[in-house]
């Protein structure tokens, strides 16, 4: 399919343009809030994009994806706690740690299917959650304050809110590009084929387990990256960032935006966080409104918001 001027691509380009302009808007209006909100949105979108790789494209409903955000975040927090602020140390550690843990969790979970897979990924995430809560030397339940953001030897100052935002945005766009390459590559065909009909994949000669595991590890690593950003954004890590409801939020973003569509998780993150912001000004019980909205999208907007846009293309 060519990159024609259709509703979907225009919408995507528009989103990216709007995202790029947020710091300028905040600077000219003197209102920092949009920048704060959108920094969070972009980081959450990165996390949701990583989940989309396995959930949307690979059909692996991981209900424990927030664990990798937590691991990425804690890697930053714990190293900072010990006085290691160099991003060149912190970030590779965050990525490698989340990759290794995704490897172990994935190796076990991917032997199961369906509801069992959902439950066992949840169980592992809960385990990590409680381990973090039990780390008394690192704040236990209360979490760990990070006093200095990751240092990149003068290359980029993460304390500069604009620069930090653009770093997050660049990483999001890079991960979207990587995802796009991945899902269209031979590897991506195997992942999608395995979602579609795993038995048949094995019958035509694919050892699907190792490919699914590789996708799981890639997703976990990207989740760890989102966690590293999140820790730097809030200057704080706590077990709450891997609570199961956070994993649920990520699934909601992916489903809301459109499973297995490239920009779906970004749209989902914007929709969810914007709705959260707008609705919580109307009522404290904003989830009462969000719930039915989500139901409507799932029931009537197959493929989420991105799916609705795709249908607009076909007229």
């Amino acid at each position: 399919m060519s990159a024609a001027l259709n509703v979907r691509n225009v919408a995507a380009a528009l989103f990216v343009a709007v995202l790029a302009l947020v710091p300028i808007y905040s600077a000219t209006t003197g209102n920092a809030f949009p920048l704060t909100l959108f920094t969070r949105i972009v980081i959450e979108a990165l996390a949701a994009t990583s989940l989309n790789l396995i959930l949307g494209y690979g059909g692996m409903v991981s209900f424990g994806h927030a664990a990798y955000l937590g691991i990425g975040g804690y890697a930053i927090g714990i190293l900072a706690h010990h006085g290691i602020y160099s991003g060149f140390v912190q970030w590779p550690v965050a990525l490698i740690a989340s990759a290794l843990i995704a490897l172990v969790i994935g190796a076990l979970c991917l032997r199961t299917r369906g509801v069992y897979f959902i439950m066992i990924t949840l169980a592992f995430a809960q385990m990590i959650y409680y381990v973090a809560a039990g780390l008394d030397q690192y704040g236990g339940d209360d979490g760990l304050t990070i006093y200095r953001r990751s240092q990149f030897a003068g290359l980029i100052d993460l304390s500069d809110r604009n620069k930090f935002y653009y770093l997050c945005l660049a990483l999001l766009l890079a991960s979207l590009y990587v995802t796009w390459r991945l899902v269209n590559s031979r590897f991506g065909m195997v992942i999608a084929g395995s979602r579609s009909n795993d038995r048949r994949m094995r019958a035509i000669g694919f050892p699907t387990y190792r490919y699914r595991l590789a996708a799981f590890v890639i997703a976990g690593t990207l989740g760890g990256l989102a966690g590293a950003l999140l820790a730097n954004n809030t200057d704080f890590v706590s077990p709450a960032m891997m609570h199961w409801t956070r994993s649920g939020d990520l699934i909601v973003m992916v489903v809301f935006g459109g499973m297995g569509s490239l920009f779906g998780p970004l749209i989902g993150a914007i929709a969810l966080l914007a709705l959260e912001y707008l609705l919580s000004r109307v009522t404290e019980y904003w989830q009462i409104i969000l719930g039915p909205l989500l139901l409507l999208v799932v029931l009537y907007g197959r493929g989420g918001i991105a799916g609705l846009l795709a249908r607009a293309d076909r007229g």
């Binding site: 590559s185 031979r186 590897f187 065909m189 009909n197 000669g205």
Partner: protein, 255 residues
Amino acid sequence: MAEALLAVDCLTKRFGGILASDELSLDVCEGELHALIGPNGAGKTTLLGELAGELVADSGRIRFAGRDITALPVWRRTALGLARSFQVTSLFLDFTALDNVALAVQAHAGHSFRFWRPARDQRELRAPARTALERVGLGARADLLASRLSHGEQRQLEIAMALATAPRLMLLDEPMAGMGLEETVRMVALLRELKREFTILMVEHDMDAVFALADRITVLVYGRVIASGSPAAIRANAAVRQAYLGDAEGPVPDG
């Protein structure tokens, strides 16, 4: 005597109290179309499952192309040149017909830890896939989603996927299942074409098709081989006629 391409020796498989394969021995020679027939529940699909590697036999040996494959997983057997089509159509329904076949080609084109180049632009995958589709008569339907194809076309697609991997032995599980008369005629013509090039082990209920195509027929009843031989020999075999509910005319056509 040269060793058969596929040699099954004393295969036994039990599901609870039922013997699905009962000391089953069978061989398929290079170049033949070997048909496997028998009443429902005779263990034909079980045998194909054991041959493909989806089911593990309780005892017995399977040798393929001179190698013992009894303990190999499905994908390794496929890599050795065993291709299987399913009785119940098993496709990637949300993929196009061409993507379905290209995936089968890809399965035999080295590992797939290739993360960057778009697979749909790779001639080495698309060209053989297109050839296989044209071979089974689906050339014009290549870009349709598999779910949009008619039942008969989906069966043809199954064959194309098996074909695309240039297998040494094709295991076809009821290729005519659920087909109308016209579709069956087309499938028989296709198989007649393919048997000149491929060794085929085929399970089939359509006796006209079986007797029209097979070089050799093996009859399975309750997991046991009760007869094996040329179509003429099978047609004349009293035990075979008995097996088909004692119906002397039965599904075994005369002439």
